[in-house]
Every structure is written in C-alpha cells, then in structure tokens.
C-alpha cells in the first residue's frame, strides 16, 4: 500500500499573487491554508502531493488537464460529496478527504 496522498510534500509551487486573503480548510482532518481565488486543486496540491488514490489500485493521482476534461481530480468531502477540484473554488471550512474515501477499494 502506498503512502496516502497527503503524506507527501506539496506538488505545486506558488509564484505570485500572494496578497490574497487566507482561506482555512482541512485535508484528512488536518488544518490547511489556501488563498481566496485558489481552486480546490491548487489549494490541495500546495499542501499535499496528491488529490486521491486511484480506485484501480495503481497509485496516487493529482489531476491532469486542469480544464474539466480528464475527470481525474474528483475529490471527496467528509460528508460524502464529490467535487471536481480543478473547477471548484476553495471555500472556508471545506473538509476534504484524500484517503478512506467512500469508494469500494479494489484488489
């Protein structure tokens, strides 16, 4: 079993636009901070190394196209909702799970 996605170092690197107001949310119960105007994908990948585990057992995934075409960045909320991370703005209080998602594990 690979390490769970959020356990690895952040994937993206912020290059600017750092004046924006902070937004607090959680990843697997741990507090995390993003900036207003970040997409959920940006918010997650500036705090973690992946978005989710592939439901087919081939390892972690972190999105691919960022334009709503590949459908690889769907993430779960603690209450079982699903969000396409690349097109969803991060909201204060969002509670995202990257492991133990309510999806039947295979293999």
């Amino acid at each position: 079993m690979t390490a769970h996605p959020a356990a690895t170092a952040p994937l993206l690197r912020r290059l600017g636009e750092t004046h924006r107001a902070p937004v607090a949310f959680t990843i697997d119960g741990q507090p995390a901070t993003a900036l207003e105007g970040d997409t959920l994908l940006t918010a997650l990948l500036l705090n973690a190394g992946a978005l989710r585990q592939s439901e087919f057992g081939d390892g972690p995934r972190a999105g691919f196209c960022l334009m709503g075409a590949c459908q690889d960045c769907w993430v779960w909320t603690e209450d079982g909702g699903r969000l396409r991370a690349c097109g969803t703005p991060v909201q204060p209080g969002l509670r995202i799970v990257t492991r133990g998602a309510p999806w039947p594990p295979l293999g």
Binding site: G16, G37, T42, F56, L66, D72
Partner: protein
C-alpha cells in the same frame, strides 16, 4: 413570427465573435459556457482578486485577449449568457445543459458549436503520476492560479504550445529543466513553406525559442521519450527517460512534466448532433465535416474554432464570424453592415495553410504511440493497459476502436476517451496492421461529461427525451 432560437456553445475566441455578430444582427443568442467567465482556455481570465496585468498574462496576445473580453462583457443583455453550464447532449432539435444540479432542455433553430480543443496526449508509461500534467494544465496553473506545476519542470511533446508554455514559465521565474520536442530536427523546414502564410506568427515563434535559448534552457529535438519516472516511493514524478542513439537511456531529472502533442478537437457535440466526420490526414485525427463557413453536414449545426479545425485563436475568431454569418444567411436574416465574407474566407484559408504547416513541422509520432509497451496504462480513468487493448484485437478480433472499447473498456471511463482515444486508435491500427483511419474513432456518447444523477432526475422531460 417568433425570433429564431440560436445557441452558441463556448465563449472562447470563436464563440465570442459569433455571439457578437449574432447580437449585432438583432438576435439574442444563448451562450452556453463551461467557464466561470468568457475567454475560453487560451484567453482564460484569472479569478477576481488577482492583480497581474494583461501583458503578464497573455504576452504578445494581450491586446487580442483584452479586446475579446471587452467585446463579450459589452454584450451584456444582448445575449443570454449561461456560465458554468455544461452542454451534455443534443437530441431532437434541442441542446441539453446542466448547471450544478439543474438540467434544462434548450430547443434551437441553429446551434453553433465552438467548444475548443484539449491537449492531444500520448499515454507514456508514468503519465498518471502526480506531477505529470498536460501542457494546457501547466499553462492554466500559471495563468489562472499563478502557480508552477513543480519546482523543476520538463516540457515534453511537440507543437507551438510546448515552446510557448516553456517560455511563460521562464518569464514567471519557474525553473525549466528541459524542453523535449519529439519532432525530428528537419521537420520544421518541411513545414516552413506553408507556415510562411503567417510570417508575423512565425517570427513570434522564433522569438520564443530565442528567449528560451538566452535563458539557457536545454532544448532537444527528435526526442524519443520512454517513460515518466517515479521517485523511490512511487508517489511522484522524478524524471523523464529518453532514448539515446546507442539504444540506451538518458534520464532528465525533474519533479514535474507538462506534456502534449499539439491539440485534439473537442468534437463530441458535433457527433451527437449527427454530423459526418472525415479523417484529416494532415493532423491525423477525425474532424467533423464543415463547409468553408462552418456549416456541418447536419441541418442547423454550425462549427467554429478549434473544435472544428485547429486553426488557433486568431483563426477561431474568423471562423466564429463566418459561422455566425452562415447562421444568419440560412435563417434568411440580413448580416450586420460591414461584414466581408469573401475577406474572412481568404483569411481563414491563410490560417488553414499555417495549420497544415504546423502539422508537418510538429508531427504526431504515430510510430512511438503504436509501439508503447504492453504495461503502459493507456486509459488513465480505469487503468487499462496497452496490452489489454492489443488483446482486444489479437484475441477478440476487434475490427476498430469502438469494438475494442467494448472489449477492453479503453475509452469508456470518465474522460470518455479524450486522453486515450487518439493513441488507442494507433495501437489498435498497428495491432491489426491497418492504417489508423481504418481503426475508426470513438463515437461521442451522452452525457459528454459526468453529470450528477440528481441533475437528470430533476427534470423528468430530460429523462424522457434521452431515452
């Protein structure tokens, strides 16, 4: 008589210019846009609160981008704008759209499809690793979020976007480990006579490459990529392995890779509308058939922009105007004053010459795709290997891509084959020993993107109509 119902799908360069012209003719077109604001992907706007100026965001195209945004914003109530709305089916003379959990059926007299394109992808081994993104994604991260996809980025693939995104990363202060172009070194000379149709654009490309050279970025041509490498834990990109002339491998270390082989048309809606498609040998992909103004083979359907032909942003603006003029003509309505159809057609032809030149200069490496190793995950949605896809041909005798899909599920996942379909057809064709056009193309299926079940259940007539 009621005013004709005209719908434009997409609010990029083609959709914006089409909507502008239709509104100027006195219609009130409905504009369906998946984005939160107009601009499409190429002129995508940064979210509210970001402060970079247009020059920083769009470089030499800043003037065009701001003009296009201003045009769209100026349309105001002259159009019925539906942002954040997915067009997911066409059936019985109506377009089916969905926003959040609300589905609607929009009957039309004319439908103008300007849905753009996505990166054309090669599913290299390792392409599903965190840190591997499409070239378009690398650009969106920078443009719309002021982020780089990593700390040390390799750009891999071919086409103008490869060099454009690399130069944008350098300008933004990101570290570019290398630009790896699969086009053979001599290819661009073959494309030059046709690309000379747009000398100004050619010069812009030369400037980009010169900037990358000045910045000391490693640039290689004729690259044969083998795989994207993972770190020891198997959790992220650690490099790109490329073939060396002696049959060995060279590793270029990086923590992210932006990859893409030019673009593929986002043509599912044209398919659902019943449009005929033709194999375009220049770009080696199936494209919906259209006349020089953008009339598709299905009545009432018009095509513009990269979803019809990959002409680029400037070509999309022209094609959007031409298609809108065709709509007006077919509806028996006068064009707004000052429209010169003949001049627009000539400009479109220039764009098309350039398009064919680009295809020669930055060719799709079909042989590389056909010979991807069996263990490669071709379908990233459902983790299906090239070997399984080949078996659907060699053991189950799939004659073409749709049967191979049924046997192997390649292309049946959530992306509906957007990222594996073109490569999958090369693999099927090679396994059968036939030309790629004989392997066919994945048919579009509704919904063209995943929908919440609630969106369908919400509207009983929707379910009835799509049964």
């Amino acid at each position: 008589m009621a005013a004709p119902r005209v719908i434009v799908v997409g609010a990029g360069p083609a959709g914006t210019r089409a909507a502008e012209l239709l509104a100027a003719a006195g219609l009130r077109p409905t504009v369906v846009d998946e984005g939160r604001a107009s601009g499409g992907q190429i002129y995508r706007r940064q979210p509210p609160g970001f402060r970079r100026d247009a020059r920083t965001l769009y470089g030499t195209e800043a003037g065009r981008a701001t003009a296009l945004h201003a045009t769209f914003d100026g349309l105001g109530l002259a159009i019925d704008y539906l942002p954040e709305t997915l067009a997911w089916n066409i059936h019985g003379g109506a377009l089916y759209v969905q926003r959040e959990e609300r589905a609607r059926r929009l009957p039309f007299d004319a439908l103008l499809i300007a849905t753009g394109a996505t990166d054309r992808m090669i599913p290299l081994p390792g392409w599903t690793l965190p840190g591997a993104f499409s070239l378009g994604a690398a650009q969106i991260a920078l443009k719309a979020q002021a982020c780089a996809i990593g700390s040390r980025v390799v750009f891999l693939g071919t086409g103008p976007l490869l060099y454009l995104v690399a130069s944008q990363y350098v300008k933004a202060g990101a570290q570019v480990a290398a630009v790896l172009d699969t086009a053979p070194p001599g290819a661009r000379w073959k494309g030059l006579p046709l690309m000379a149709a747009r000398p100004a654009l050619l010069a812009k490309g030369a400037v980009l490459i010169a900037q990358l050279m000045r910045a000391g970025v490693t640039m290689r041509r004729g690259v044969v990529p083998r795989r994207v490498l993972a770190d020891a834990a198997g959790t992220r990109v650690a490099g790109v392995a490329i073939a060396t002339p002696d049959g060995g491998e060279e590793v270029i270390a990086c923590d992210a890779v932006g990859m893409g082989w030019h673009l593929r048309a986002e043509s599912q809606l044209a398919d659902l509308a019943g449009c005929a498609f033709d194999f375009d040998a220049d770009s080696r992909q199936w494209l919906p058939r259209a006349d020089e103004d953008g009339r598709a083979s299905a009545p009432g359907i018009y095509l513009a922009g990269d979803s019809a032909r990959i002409l680029g942003a400037d070509g999309a603006e022209i094609a959007g105007r031409l298609a809108a003029l065709a709509v007006l003509k077919d509806l028996g309505l006068p064009a707004p004053p000052g429209q010169d159809v003949a001049a627009l057609r000539r400009q479109r032809q220039v764009m098309d010459r350039f398009r064919r030149g680009l295809a020669l200069a930055f060719p799709w490496p079909a042989g590389l795709v056909a010979s991807l190793p069996d263990e490669t995950l071709v379908c990233r949605c459902e983790a299906i290997t090239a070997g399984a896809l080949r078996q659907s041909v060699t053991e189950l005798d799939a004659p073409e891509m749709n049967r191979a899909k049924a046997f192997s599920r390649t292309g049946m996942g959530r992306c509906q084959g957007r990222f594996c379909g073109i490569a999958g057809a090369e693999i099927v064709a090679a396994a059968r020993g036939v030309p790629v056009e004989a392997a066919g193309r994945l048919r579009g299926q509704a919904p063209v993107k995943p929908l919440p079940v609630a969106a369908m259940a919400d509207d009983a007539s929707t379910l009835e109509a799509t049964r």
